[in-house]
């Protein structure tokens, strides 16, 4: 088996403020190979964004990470500033939700990309870096790239800006791309284009992609595997097919049922279809007790009883429909009953 591009082992991220330390991510393990896309799905407080940032070592002040993160053979948590500089951009790059804040309003688009090229390899001349920028803009589908390099971020539409940011992130051919809600701020038609572009480039470059999203619709379009986080812990991990067709965690099943679908059954006999909502609101690890963080919102916790409240479930192996696939769920129930019972 080839070495994975990304390997995360027992990652814990904690915040310290006012002398109090609290975990926001606990015991997270992930393995991601080149050419594959892993979607990290979760809601507020799930720790999905902080996990992406921990991999880049871009944690906010007061946060610290323990465990092990290996990107393209490089230990990220023990790396010094110089090594990190080398890793960022060439080993791992990131695309954020808000493209405007990822770009400087004072620099033209070409300067952003050229800077990324020269930071990575100072021997490249300015002229050559600029040429690379034109090439890259062309590759991400920006029309008239020779003209576009001279434009400033505010002259671009949201979709075009996100394309430019992708060009900037990919110009050094990173082994891993972390995309944190890359299409959330975009209109659906533009979103579809950007997702298709990411998928295409990912296949072409054979890179690994970690897609952070709250939207199962987006996930269904690009992911090979899915990691569902709840309150800083892994709720479920599996192939897209397993997650969609035989979810093993009540939260995964509940999230799916709460997501509206355009193709929802049309013959509803007058009465309008309603979504099955999950009661309550998402919590963070800080507010969770010793038991399963999802238990207070779970329709099945009564069936299991006491155990859900006192003992946090560990991920265990579940049936999979993939050859050699891995399907894990952290739930005390061995088998999930029909959906109707999951979300009452």
């Amino acid at each position: 088996m080839p070495d994975p591009v990304l390997q995360v082992e027992d990652l814990c991220v904690s915040f310290t403020s006012g002398g109090v330390t609290a975990d926001v991510v606990r015991d997270l393990s992930v393995r991601l190979d080149g050419g594959r896309t892993l979607a990290v799905v979760g809601e507020s407080g799930s720790g999905k964004t902080i996990t992406g940032r921990a991999i880049m070592r871009l944690l906010p002040r007061g946060a610290s990470a323990r465990g092990r993160i290996v990107v393209a053979g490089r230990e990220m948590l023990s790396a010094d500033e110089r090594e990190l500089r080398r890793a960022r951009g060439s080993d791992v790059a990131m695309v954020f939700q808000d493209s405007m804040s990822a770009l400087s309003p004072y620099l033209d688009i070409g300067a952003h990309i050229a800077q990324a090229v020269r930071l990575h390899d100072p021997s490249v001349t300015r002229r050559a870096a600029r040429a690379r920028a034109v090439e890259m803009l062309d590759r991400v589908g920006i029309p008239e790239p020779a003209d576009a390099v001279r434009r400033f971020p505010h002259e671009f539409s949201g979709g075009m800006r996100q394309r430019a940011v992708i060009a900037m992130a990919l110009v050094n051919r990173p082994a891993l791309l972390i995309a944190d809600e890359p299409t959330t701020a975009l209109d659906v038609t533009v979103q579809a284009q950007i997702l298709a572009l990411l998928r295409e480039l990912q296949q072409e470059y054979g890179m690994a992609m970690l897609l952070i999203s709250h939207d199962f619709g987006v996930v269904g379009r690009v992911a090979d595997d899915v990691l569902v986080l709840y309150a800083g812990r892994q709720a479920e991990y599996g192939s897209l097919r397993d997650i969609f067709e035989q979810p093993a965690h009540p939260y995964t099943a509940g999230l799916r049922a709460a997501t509206p679908r355009l193709d929802a059954r049309l013959d509803t006999g007058g009465e309008r279809t309603r979504l099955r909502a999950i009661p309550g609101a998402p919590t963070s690890l800080r507010d969770a007790g010793p038991g399963c963080a999802f238990a207070p919102r779970c329709g099945l916790a009564d069936q299991v009883g006491e155990r859900c409240v006192v003992e946090a479930p560990l991920p265990t192996v579940r049936p999979t429909s993939e050859v050699g696939g891995l399907h894990l769920a952290a739930c005390h129930l061995d088998r999930l009953p029909a959906l109707q019972e999951v979300t009452r």
């Binding site: 509206p260 355009l262 999950i278």
Partner: protein
């Protein structure tokens, strides 16, 4: 059939833009000759891409934005002819729920103060029992009265915003992206709450959203906007089963479904 709760006829809105030096100000036509109505008890969904003019159109329904031309009749009254007092009366009848509950609630006021202010603004008094009943109608307990916005979650705050909208028993609620800022698991709660209000209290809705799947499930009729115009309108099942206009078709095709790719 009684007259519609909201009727807009050939409504346009041109925003003035800052013209450069020596440049003629042409303005931006956000809404371009739109006619639309909402029947009593009906939920009308308004969809379109950003910048298509759907929020401007929604705001013209209760006089928050004054149309450049055309007429808006709410509950049979021409909004343009109303005095300040008349507008105030109108807003009893037409309430609004915005996208971001944290931005639309005063951070320095408790839920009780926020709700009391609605009554006070319309010269009415209220009792604690009434406020508690109001909160209960949106699924919140009496303990929320003393809370400040930062002490509640996004979904709970949006319930407070809905309670505020319900306070004066409106006939029409304009909801502008009411669930876009909420978590997926909470979004369904709020959508179901709005659907219950329509069914049980006969409240009409003008629901603005960019999310076609949400509109498909929770609206009786749909109007699709593009560049300031309504390009297609009809019963929601029909529109989504066989979209006619290229704009609608593009939106339907681009909407990602939570399912396995074929």
């Amino acid at each position: 059939m009684s007259e519609p709760i909201l009727e807009m006829t050939d409504v346009s809105k041109r925003y003035r833009t800052a013209g450069g030096f020596g440049r003629r100000r042409k303005g931006f036509l956000a809404v371009d000759g739109v006619s639309l109505h909402v029947e009593r008890g009906e939920a009308l969904g308004l969809v379109g891409e950003s910048g298509s003019g759907k929020s401007t159109l929604a705001r013209m329904a209760n006089g928050l934005v004054v149309p450049t031309s055309g007429t808006v009749r709410t509950d049979g009254q021409d909004v343009a002819c109303l005095s300040r007092r008349g507008l105030r009366r109108l807003r009893r009848n037409v309430a609004m729920v915005f996208q971001d509950p944290l931005a639309s609630l005063n951070p320095l006021q408790t839920v009780r103060q926020t709700l009391e202010n609605v009554f006070r603004a319309h010269g009415e008094t209220t009792s604690t029992a009434e406020l508690v009943a109001l909160l209960e109608s949106v699924g919140l307990g009496a303990d929320y009265l003393g809370r400040y916005p930062h002490e509640a979650s996004g979904g709970q705050l949006q319930r407070v915003a809905v309670a505020r909208a319900l306070a004066l028993k409106p006939d029409l609620i304009i909801a502008d992206e009411p669930t876009s800022a909420l978590d997926v698991s909470v979004r369904a709660q709020i959508l179901n709450l709005l659907a219950d209000l329509q069914r049980d209290q006969g409240i009409s809705f003008l629901h603005v959203s960019h999310d076609l799947a949400v509109i498909r499930l929770y609206s009786d009729r749909v109007a699709v906007m593009q560049r300031g115009r309504i390009v297609e309108t009809g019963p929601s099942d029909e529109i989504f089963r066989s979209p006619q206009h290229p704009c609608t078709r593009a939106l339907v095709e681009a909407t990602p479904e939570a399912e396995l790719p074929a």
